[in-house]
């Protein structure tokens, strides 16, 4: 069913502006790469051929996987279901701790890809009884056209779609896709420009914050994940400022997940995040007024579950990626009846 990639005719990219000569400006992410003829943008997935910009990863995913939705993490969206995950080569960032570096820090030529049309992706998701398709692993912005067409196909066939992003997409394409997807998990990597610049390879916090506002404005389901890395983004003041910003700009009911760091990619020397640091972050977030705060990558920790901010009842009892029990009825707390925001059916 799934075949290896063939040397496809690359598809023309969207969101770019032809400039003088054969140079183009890519308008897909915050970088706005100026791409001369024959060259590629920062992500190396988009190539200028004779003044036309092409995407090289259309129909060419390299990762196709069935996972629990909790793994994203996305906790207020059809808990306990499976999602069909799709990813390609490359990224808009070069984070030193990237967990998916095998794909995200490689060009399409360096990887083995499959050949799968948007229709076939939806077929696969249906065959595997998945509740949604997720664009994840690497930054979906770098395969925007492919993702967009899969989303439209899935929408037509009544299948939900979600994406896991670093928030680097430009506003115009972002709004366009938000019109069709059902949920977004955003990696908020830190709350300082320095971190984005030094650890993420020239990312921009301000742009990511803009993305978060846009998702909220468009009314698409949003969850935030903050990977707490010892000494790099674990300052309580930084976490407090972030939580207050989320409360004030996005609302207190946006779920925020604090994840435990473990050494990966090039950050191999740091210890895993102390549990006390994660618990402190949880307390800071709750004190700031955030209602749905959880801890991740700490299997067995009680804060891995979701609690009712009103009565304290366990709404969703989780261990790692597994949902053990749900105490909700029609999207509300079974005990006190509080309506819990999210996508429940």
């Amino acid at each position: 069913m799934i075949s290896a990639a063939t040397p496809d005719e690359p598809a023309e990219a969207r969101y770019y502006t032809p400039l003088e000569g054969d140079t183009v400006r890519c308008g897909l992410c915050f970088r706005g790469c100026l791409i001369p003829e024959g060259e590629r943008g920062f992500c190396s997935n988009r190539e200028n051929r004779g003044g036309t910009l092409y995407t090289l990863v259309y129909n060419r995913p390299c990762a196709l996987q069935v996972d629990p939705i909790e793994k994203e993490p996305m906790y207020h969206f059809l808990p306990g279901t499976r999602i069909y995950c799709v990813g390609t080569a490359s990224c808009t960032f070069t984070c030193l701790h990237c967990h998916n570096w095998h794909m995200s820090q490689r060009t399409v030529e360096e990887l083995r890809s499959y050949h799968l049309t948007p229709g076939q992706v939806v077929d696969q998701a249906e065959e595997n009884d998945c509740a949604a398709i997720s664009f994840t692993y690497n930054e979906p912005t770098v395969f925007y056209e492919y993702m967009y067409d899969v989303v439209l196909e899935a929408e037509e066939r009544g299948l939900r779609t979600i994406l896991h992003t670093n928030g680097s997409m430009a506003e115009e394409p972002l709004r366009a896709i938000l019109g069709h997807v059902d949920g977004v998990t955003v990696d908020l990597k830190a709350f300082s420009e320095d971190f984005y610049d030094e650890v993420c390879g020239g990312g921009e916090l301000e742009h990511v914050l803009g993305t978060l506002r846009t998702i909220r404005e468009e009314g698409v389901w949003l969850e935030i994940v903050y990977l707490v890395i010892p000494t790099l983004n674990d300052d309580p003041d930084e976490i407090r400022a972030m939580c207050r910003w989320v409360r004030d700009e996005l609302g207190p009911d946006v779920p925020v997940h604090f994840s435990r760091f473990s050494p990966s990619y090039r950050l191999t020397r740091l210890s895993p995040t102390p549990i006390s640091t994660l618990e402190e972050a949880w307390s800071i977030a709750r004190e700031a007024g955030l209602e749905y705060v959880t801890l991740g990558n700490v299997p067995g920790h009680v804060r891995n579950s979701t609690f009712c901010p009103e009565c304290g009842a366990t709404l969703i009892d989780r261990t790692h990626f597994q949902v053990n029990e749900m105490n909700m009825r029609d999207g509300s707390c079974r005990r006190c009846g509080l309506e819990v925001p999210g996508v429940w059916e």
Partner: protein
């Protein structure tokens, strides 16, 4: 200028050999922690050391001839080493900050190369120069080739003996009892002592060389004070704190196997082994130990006797005890690790150590398993992803076959390797493919469960293994109630879904890989290649290219060498002068490969027994010194000439050809008489023989080179540099690429071909008439 006595000069040379080796070991260990070492880093650091020594040797080989007072030069070089050594240990500890590497970031190969060059240079450069100068000191002004040749030979022998003593001294006395800073200050003191000997007789030396004498005095007092007043200890603690910026250093100790540091931060303690974070408390990682232990144990219907090899401190020991087993043997190579964990990280090892079912065995896993009479229901390998030959011995076909013989009927073995389920690239794919192929050669049935970040392999000769399903494992889980948080019935069904396993096998089997064997430990190369892909993508392609080297390339190279010398001879050009350094260089290369090959062979058969390895290295060096001494005696009796040299060349090549079959025979002999003294002795003899062949060449080459009209300092410097450069190539290529990729037989074949090439070059080089200079006045005037 007053001249030092020959005895003083000889003692000084031996001490300089000792200090050099000690400095090399101490700095290598420090750099291993700075760079989170693996075999490649060891190779780079040692190679850089040799290259810098060669450079120093070459630079001073020319200058030494013109020196009016070589003894003073010797003193100054020794003083530079004495002052630089403690400073370089300090620099190695703050290396990451100096290189501008962000907190927690691993460093790439370019950083490793440049950083280690910067750390080693202040010691290795003057140390290399010291050899050329000491040749001059020992020979005096003797220009008489036969006599000077003998002196050069003696210098070589003395330095080698010093080196040998250093190895033993550090391994058995200094490293276990002193911190690296104190060792470096002791070595500084030992470096200053020869200066006192050289400046002897004191009165005259002081008067004629006041600056050198004053500097010697200052350094002598400073290093003695640093040791006596505890300043060295304070510097050690201060620099450790700098290295672990932002974390409190709770404990630090060196063992013969590596260095262990416990840091504390945010209420969490982390144990680092050679700089790598290994386990944290109070909340250690649960996913890895649970996957590695419970999946294999659940594949067995009733595990009663279990063996765990390594990884116990990381949570594996505690996890296996969650099953209703009768007894567990826990084998760990470095028992200090367990000791530190028990003391500083409660919860990791204490409970397991105190469980009456557990028998703790401090031993090398391979050594233990080869000799045990016990039979196990489950053998768990607690280490993964071998990056060097030492741990790789638990992943070879031969070891796995032994393990299968130690299983009780229906028994199984479990091991794991890093993987990444969403996308298995060439790097991880090839490693997993090799493990799968190797397991399939040793066992009838192999199952793989693709875990979160690792693949768990379970192998058995019992067909029951292939009948197990996620449901049967889930049922056992429910019956045994191990109280796991990650590996639950639901998780097992997720991991063992048909689709997930198929996708894993599909991506693994799509890569080209080879079986991992004792004589060709290919997994080590795959791991290092993967590491370069991570940290130095640009160098990764170069490494893969070098891995294409095969014996035929060595044949072409040997042919080219012969052709160049033939052309030079026909054209009556003096390319022949290069023949001796070429011979010494290729012999240096061979020596390094022999040393690595014998150690590889010994380790795979007997286990990583530090004392035995030390004995082998010492035997090799002693052989080298012995060969040198015998040759010096021969030279003294007027023997030695071109044909003898050609004979030594042939014997090195012959040794290379004999080594693989001899080691094969030794491997064959272990099955019946393992531990038999004669087999161990055979390895010692092999080391001695290899060393003495190599060692005999140096004095003879010196004699022939001097006969060509060179000054002693120049000859010593050039030949020493050639030896070191050869060793550099052998260290870089041999351990990292040739032995793992081409295997023992292919590598030794390449060595032999190379030696045939250098022999041809030597025979084709024109014989020069011996210089007939009258011996200098100093030749007769030993003080």
């Amino acid at each position: 200028m007053p001249r030092p006595s020959r005895g003083a000069a000889g003692a000084a040379i031996a001490l300089s050999g000792l200090v050099g080796m000690a400095a090399q070991i101490v700095l290598l260990r420090e750099l291993m922690v700075a760079f989170l070492g693996n075999e490649l880093i060891v190779g780079v650091v040692l190679a850089n050391w040799l290259a810098l020594e060669a450079l120093g040797s070459l630079a001073l080989s020319r200058a030494s001839g013109r020196m009016r007072d070589p003894a003073a030069a010797f003193v100054w070089l020794s003083l530079i080493i004495a002052a630089a050594l403690p400073a370089t240990v300090f620099v190695a500890r703050v290396m990451r900050q100096l290189l501008g590497a962000g907190a927690g970031q691993g460093l790439g190969l370019l950083h490793v190369i440049t950083g280690s060059l910067a750390v080693l240079a202040p010691v290795a450069l003057p140390h290399g120069g010291l050899f050329a100068v000491s040749c001059r000191v020992l020979c005096g002004g003797s220009g008489e080739p036969a006599e000077a040749g003998r002196f050069l030979g003696s210098a070589y022998v003395l330095e080698t003996l010093g080196t040998m003593v250093a190895g033993a001294l550090l391994t058995f006395l200094l490293i276990p009892h002193l911190d690296p800073v104190r060792i470096s200050v002791w070595m500084a003191l030992l470096s200053v002592l020869p200066c006192v000997l050289i400046l002897h007789p004191l009165g005259r030396g002081l008067r004629s060389r006041p600056a050198a004498s004053a500097a010697t005095g200052v350094l002598l007092v400073a290093s003695a004070l640093a040791l006596a007043a505890g300043f060295a200890g304070r510097l050690h603690r201060y620099s450790l704190q700098l290295r672990w910026e932002g974390r409190e250093v709770v404990d630090h100790r060196s063992t013969v196997h590596g260095s262990i540091t416990v840091t504390s931060s945010g209420g969490q303690r982390t144990l680092h082994y050679d700089g790598v974070p290994t386990v944290s408390t109070p909340s250690p990682d649960a996913v890895r130990p649970e996957e590695m232990v419970h999946i294999p144990l659940l594949f067995h219907p009733r595990p009663e006797e279990v063996l765990l090899v390594g990884g116990g401190v990381e949570g594996l020991a505690a996890e296996m005890l969650r099953h209703p087993i009768d007894s567990a043997d826990w084998v760990e190579l470095d028992d200090r690790l367990v000791e530190v964990a028990r003391r500083f990280l409660p919860g990791t090892a204490t409970a397991a150590m105190e469980d009456p079912r557990v028998r703790f065995i401090p031993d090398d896993g391979r050594h233990y398993l080869a000799g045990t009479e016990s039979r196990y229901d489950v053998i768990l390998l607690g280490i993964s992803d071998p990056q060097s030959i030492q741990p790789n011995r638990l992943f070879t076909r031969e070891f796995l076959q032994t393990a299968s013989e130690r299983l009780a009927p229906g028994g199984l073995l479990g091991l794991s390797a890093s993987s990444y389920q969403p996308y298995m690239g060439e790097g991880l794919g090839r490693r997993n493919a090799s493990i799968l192929m190797t397991l399939r050669e040793a066992f009838e049935h192999v199952r793989v469960v693709p875990g979160e970040n690792r693949a768990v392999y379970v192998a058995s000769d019992d067909a029951a293994l292939s009948l197990q399903t996620a449901d049967s494992l889930a049922a056992r889980h429910s019956a045994r109630e191990p109280g796991t948080v990650v590996v639950t019935p639901g998780y097992l069904r997720y991991l063992m879904s048909r689709r997930r396993t198929d996708r894993f096998l599909e991506s693994v089997e799509g890569t080209r890989a080879q079986v991992n064997t004792d004589q060709r430990p290919i997994l080590v190369f795959y791991a290092l290649s993967h590491w370069t892909a991570l940290f130095s993508p640009a160098l990764h392609d170069g490494l893969e290219w070098l891995a294409g080297a095969r014996p035929r390339h060595a044949a072409v190279l040997a042919g080219l060498i012969a052709a160049v010398f033939l052309a030079a001879r026909l054209a009556r050009r003096p390319a022949g002068r290069a023949a001796l350094p070429l011979a010494i260089g290729t012999t240096g290369f061979s020596a390094m490969v022999f040393d690595l090959a014998v150690m590889l062979g010994f380790q795979t058969l007997y286990g990583y027994l530090y004392r035995d390895i030390g004995l082998l290295v010492s035997a090799f060096m002693f052989g080298s010194a012995l060969g040198g001494m015998l040759m010096v005696r021969l030279l003294r009796r007027g023997g030695g000439g071109r044909w003898l040299f050609a004979g030594t060349e042939l014997s090195v090549a012959g040794f290379a050809l004999l080594l693989p079959p001899v080691m094969g025979a030794l491997a064959g002999g272990t099955g019946t008489t393992l531990g038999g003294g004669w087999l161990r002795a055979a390895f010692v003899v092999l080391s001695l023989a290899g060393g003495s062949l190599v060692g005999a060449q140096f004095p003879l080459a010196s004699r022939l080179h001097l006969g060509g009209g060179s000054a002693p300092g120049a000859t010593g410097g050039i030949l020493n540099a050639a030896d070191l450069i050869g060793g550099w190539c052998g260290g870089m290529l041999g351990g990292v690429i040739l032995l793992p990729v081409v295997g023992l037989r292919g590598t030794c074949g390449m060595v032999a071909l190379l030696k045939f090439g250098s022999l041809a070059a030597f025979l084709l080089s024109r014989r020069r008439p011996e210089a007939s200079r009258p011996p200098g006045p100093s030749a007769k005037s030993p003080a």
